[in-house]
């Protein structure tokens, strides 16, 4: 066993930290985190990450990468997370879609998309969920009819979070509806220009001020060259990618800023003449957050290690996801108890504590246990795929 990083990896982290401390502004972090839309600042930052040798390291050389260990991407995600950064600015392309294009896409698609993903230039909107296909994703209805040299696509997607600023739509749609076949065997994946004629994007605003979207397709023509892999195999491609996606998205480091902010707050805040940092109740709650985050990091490290070494994965990324998302709720609850009355104040109040982040995080914390699969679906996966219990 060995839980350390190599000297080269440590050197990379050191250089990255120095870069981020200088270059990553509050504005970039916000555009990144709150999904209101990655604007010019975050896009510029994304390119700088590449130019300075922090983005794209594990990718194949022929598409602009350096074929180094994916550990470098994990270090990048962790260091961004520790600075409220959540993920690389254009993360659906970089951490999700790109890998599937590399695995399943045509040579033409790889040449067209991967170099731009590696350079941090383009983003994709994830087009999976529909009003009647949430946890039961295979029930999606969005229809893609095969014509001479294109697919004609009609229907509606919902909760497509990046679509309003993404360049492309990573779309799953039904290419076969045969009632005698399982539903998941009739789904295909497409890369669609997000601004193509016939696409209508309507905002949905979340309780934590983030934007997601409904995306309507009305006779949208998508060239056949934009079908990813084989027709009707899309659901397999979605599923085979999901473990790695979880590994890249659910990074425990993202929650450390809550602890850091709280530690700073309790040290500078007094009650009845005593520092809050001396209060055993406060100490206990903050210590417990740090303890749980240490464990979350181990769960994540284990799942990452399996991925890095191409070892069989069953439940490990799902365990990280379930644990980390529920931990966010526990942490926010404890943080609000520590802040007391001040915990309810929004960001711009004169009396705001911890920059209003806890109040925002409380609103946000309802999402991770739902998004990318509910905790309940997660536990089904752990029990059935991981522990071998039978499907009901």
């Amino acid at each position: 066993m060995n839980f350390g990083y190599t000297p080269e990896e440590e050197q990379f982290r050191k250089r990255l930290k120095e870069f981020l401390d200088k270059e990553m502004t509050e504005e970039i972090a916000r555009q990144n985190w709150e999904d209101l839309g990655v604007g010019s600042e975050a896009r510029e930052f994304s390119k700088k990450l590449y130019e300075n040798g922090f983005l794209g390291l594990p990718w194949p050389k022929e598409y602009g990468g350096q074929e180094m260990s994916p550990t470098y991407d994990f270090i990048l995600i962790d260091e961004l997370g520790k600075r409220w950064g959540a993920h690389v600015p254009l993360d659906v392309g970089y951490t999700m879609v790109g890998h599937t294009i590399l695995r399943r896409g045509s040579e033409e698609q790889k040449k067209e998309f991967i170099p731009r993903i590696v350079r941090g230039e383009i983003e994709f909107g994830l087009g999976y969920t529909e009003p009647n296909a949430g946890s039961d994703l295979a029930s999606m209805m969005m229809k893609a009819e095969e014509k001479e040299d294109y697919f004609l696509i009609n229907g509606q997607k919902t909760f497509n979070t990046e679509s309003h600023y993404a360049d492309y739509h990573w779309l799953a749609a039904r290419t076969e509806s045969n009632p005698d076949k399982p539903k998941y065997k009739g789904i295909s994946l497409f890369i669609v220009d997000q601004r193509a004629p016939g696409i209508d994007i309507r905002p949905m605003i979340t309780m934590s001020d983030e934007r997601t979207n409904e995306v309507y397709y009305d006779d949208v023509k998508v060239p056949k060259s934009r079908l990813v892999g084989e027709k009707n195999k899309g659901f397999y491609y979605i599923m085979e990618a999901i473990d790695s996606e979880r590994n890249h998205v659910f990074a425990p480091a993202r929650l450390w800023p809550i602890v850091d902010d709280l530690v700073a707050y309790v040290k500078e805040t007094s009650y009845q003449g005593k520092s809050l940092a001396e209060d055993p109740f406060v100490q206990n709650k903050i210590a417990w957050m740090a303890i749980e985050l240490e464990v979350a990091q181990m769960l994540a490290d284990n799942a990452r290690w399996l991925e890095l070494n191409e070892l069989p994965i069953t439940m490990e990324p799902e365990i990280t996801k379930v644990y980390l998302s529920e931990l966010e709720q526990r942490m926010v609850d404890d943080a609000m108890q520590i802040l007391g009355l001040y915990g309810q104040l929004e960001e711009n109040s004169k009396y705001t504590a911890c920059r209003g982040r806890i109040e925002w995080y409380y609103r946000h914390s309802f999402m991770p246990t739902i998004g990318a699969g509910t905790s309940e679906i997660g536990r089904n996966v752990i029990a059935q795929r991981g522990l071998g219990l039978p499907r009901g």
């Binding site: 066993m1 206990n284 210590a287 464990v295 365990i319 752990i382 009901g392």
Partner: protein, 379 residues
């Protein structure tokens, strides 16, 4: 990063699993709970023959000279089958204390005998004054008298004292009751006049005792380490012991999950195996989360201890979290087994009773949480 055990460690696990399953089935563990001594010569000698007592003792002192992670493998397997006996007290507490603080004479005298299974040790640390866990809260006194020290006072919750040949007594030779200065370790003959050992009846059915020292004379040569400066040694042994307990808990959790999954496949209700119901699956999923967290943080911390990396916060996080996770774990296990697991002869109660003993040993959750807070500069 590498989460793999070495081939040697896997072989050790395999051999330990076979031995523990054969020598320590549940009816034996239950019988040993009632037995005064609490283990048999066959069990103890068998472990000694396999080299377990000398696993971490350097070769020059008759051991095998392996590392702490190797010991963790063994402790997991012993925890998995609730193997009774004074192994933890003798090896994790006794041998490690002597390895860390002993002079050459003491090492030569005791370590080969521990490695050979000839000696049983017990660590007398906790006291009645520790109504909140604090290893520095030491009131038992040792006063110099000529070439001897005279020990007086009461130790409580002393593991395996009844079976011990020697008791490592943590006594105060100076300083106030909760000071880290002025604490000294003594290797005391457990049969010395003035020592009274009274077993305690405990939830875990393990062998803990009250040990009263009344004018117990100990030669000054039996001081382990420096007079008045034992704290760093205690801290170190305490760290190993706390993490070692976590390995036992993780091992217990492995076993409970195995048994629960078997039961999920076998037990039929409403015409289906209960493992088919999502409500039951989610109990098992929660167990898997707790198990993985327990294992991985224990492994990482053990690795840090082996590497000599300072890891005070990491040890505290490990003992606090694993104790908490294991408590939740056994509740989930009981929920899967329902009525059948409530019966005294079932495996489940053994694990749920011992979960509390392990939680309380070598720093409870509150204690380690406070250490963590201190390490985070909250005070």
């Amino acid at each position: 990063m590498d989460f793999n055990f070495t081939d040697e460690q896997n072989m050790l696990r395999e051999s330990a699993r076979g031995f523990c399953e054969k020598m320590s089935p549940m009816d034996f563990v239950l019988e040993m709970e009632k037995d005064e001594k609490g283990y048999t010569p066959e069990l103890w000698n068998g472990m000694a023959e396999l080299g377990w007592m000398g696993l971490i003792i350097p070769e020059e002192y008759g051991g095998i000279g392996l590392g702490f992670l190797d010991l963790i493998v063994l402790l997991e397997e012993m925890g998995r089958m609730c193997v009774p006996g004074p192994y933890f007290s003798t090896v994790v507490c006794g041998a490690l204390a002597i390895m860390n603080a002993g002079n050459e004479d003491q090492k030569t005298e005791y370590l080969p005998k521990i490695a050979g299974g000839e000696l049983v040790f017990s660590l007398a640390l906790t006291e009645p004054c520790m109504t909140r866990y604090d290893p520095a809260c030491i009131s038992v006194s040792a006063n110099k008298n000529g070439d001897d020290y005279v020990i007086n006072g009461t130790k409580l919750f002393v593991n395996d004292a009844h079976a011990a040949d020697f008791i490592i007594c943590v006594a105060r030779t100076g300083g106030v009751i909760d000071a880290k200065e002025g604490i000294t370790l003594f290797i005391v003959d457990a049969k010395a006049p003035g020592i009274t050992i009274t077993p305690l009846k405990t939830l875990g059915g393990d062998k803990q005792a009250e040990v009263v020292f009344e004018n117990v004379k100990v030669p000054a040569t039996q001081v382990l380490g420096e007079v008045g400066a034992a704290w760093p040694v205690i801290e170190k042994v305490f760290q190993y012991a706390a993490v070692g307990k976590c390995a036992e808990m993780a091992g217990g959790a492995m076993r409970v999950l195995e048994l629960a999954l078997d039961y999920c496949h076998q037990r039929v209700q409403f015409g289906k195996p209960i493992g088919m119901f999502q409500a039951v699956q989610h109990l098992c999923a929660n167990m898997a989360i707790n198990l993985n967290g327990s294992k991985f943080i224990t492994y990482k911390t053990s690795w840090m201890l082996d590497e000599g990396t300072p890891c005070m916060a990491q040890v505290a996080a490990t003992k606090a979290w694993v104790s908490q996770a294991y408590k939740k774990f056994v509740i989930l296990g009981h929920q899967v087994f329902a009525g059948t697991g409530f019966m005294v002869e079932h495996e489940m109660p053994m694990y749920s009773r011992r979960a509390r003993a392990a939680e309380l040993a070598f720093g409870d959750i509150n204690y380690h949480c406070a250490v963590m807070a201190k390490e985070m500069d909250l005070s």
